[in-house]
Amino acid sequence: MPKFQLSRRSFLTAATLGASTVALSGCDAFDFLADRDNGVRNVLEGANDLTYHVQRLLAGRDSLAQEFTEADIRQPQRPNGITAPDDSVYKSLQAGDFADWRLEVTGLVDKPLSLSRQQLMNMPSRTQITRHDCVEGWSCIAKWTGVPMALVLDAATVKPSARYVVFHCLDTIERSISGEVKYYGSIDLIDARHPQTILAYGMNGKPLPVENGAPLRVRVERQLGYKMPKYLHRIELVDGLGAMGLGKGGYWEDRGYDWYGGI
């Protein structure tokens, strides 16, 4: 007979181990990490800078996101976030089929622009079938058509001091006592000039639907969905992100998401 019995000491050790595991995973022991200003959290956030630099090193400036075939388009693009803006400005533009809508290009540029949807559609276009990866974990493949952002930036002639492209949107993402917050976001100029970064006005061979960001949305194919704002109306070239929102570079970034959404 194998001799196996738990001695009192073994039992106590086991009980202590078990209890400490429960205590550790214990509900709220690590909830301090959710505090955006916590020092430990700020150290952990440093890993995102490392990810950004290593991925830029590995992927280079112009490596392309995977493109798929028509056969991979098996469903409508799943919308997320705001899917029907109820802002009066947006609704009146929508009522006129966005004929009065303009894309403004402002900030650190030599020639500020104001472009209609038709003007954008008259520029050279790019169509790509790509996989949209949401930060939540799901993926959806769709075909996107739009004007490469690099062409728009070149038309406006970006000043050398510019470092980021900021997106200003028409949809209100948050209403609180301190007022309304419209969606905003930003990317660096490397991603802004990436060959697959387009200002999309078409999806799956049709005009971009409202739920997916009509009349214009951003596609940044090497990053997650929250880095691709919908309902775009102004692009601003800036040399720093501190002045916008709470200073982290975007609506979700100001609420704890990493500014770099490549992972």
């Binding site: 196996f4 001695s7 050790t13 995973s25 991925q55 704890g256 990493d258």
Partner: protein, 291 residues
Amino acid sequence: MESQARLVQQADDGSAPTSEGTLVYRQSGWTRLTHWIWAFSLFFLLLSGLQIFNAHPALYIGKQSGFAFSNDVLVIGAENSSTGPVGYTTILGNRFNTTGVLGVSGSTANPSARAFPAWATIPSGQDLATGRVVHFFFAWMLSATLLVWLGASLLNGHLRRDLTPRANDLRRLPKDIVDHARLKFHHSRDYNTLQKLAYGGVLFVLLPLMIITGLAMSPSMNAAVPFLADLLGGRQTARTIHFVAMALLVGFFIIHILMILAAGPINELRSIFTGWYRTDPPADENHEGSA
């Protein structure tokens, strides 16, 4: 030190060697240090990972998630019934009521609709942003530690001497399985066959698989190494494998702890804290028949 060890030995008479054996130096500083960094990292990776999973508690096979078609293999959800909220888990089309743990958890007075319960996630509340911050920090930590361990173990011979299975190991595998099943443990400096397979499986299969499937979910890595997601069957399959490997690691952890408890926790813990391990006395073999 020695007398302390003897005290421990006497008190712990359940399953450890019955008479005084020799203390041998079993675990190098590198092995002990990396072991504890992994233990610490995996704890945070698991609980932050479940937090991230909760943001979209479904797993799929393929390149994308089926919303207008069905390719899911696991869905955790909640719905209302006449008797109150019900949590369910659907695995490969088979639906189970998992109220209380998966889908719906918390107190009956204040039930919460979430896939994994608050006690299993960091932070306890729904907070994907913080889950990601914690997860990616410890992902780097785990990967770096794995590299340090690999370098050290190649140099100090741990890999060759202790982990590489030999012909002899295969020959005694059946006996080793029987011994483990009967909770009959031999305390020697060398790992037994099942230990070599378990540790090797974690270090050379599960942890690298975790890192590779994790990278395959990154859109930027998809641009750098597009074949990675394809090789794994698509991004959503990679995510599913990531989850299954997590479950296997949790399974390893549970068996690891049970084996430590059964083989003599004081001796086992001493070796992973100090490196010193008390082996069976040579005479022990003779008593085996009558034990």
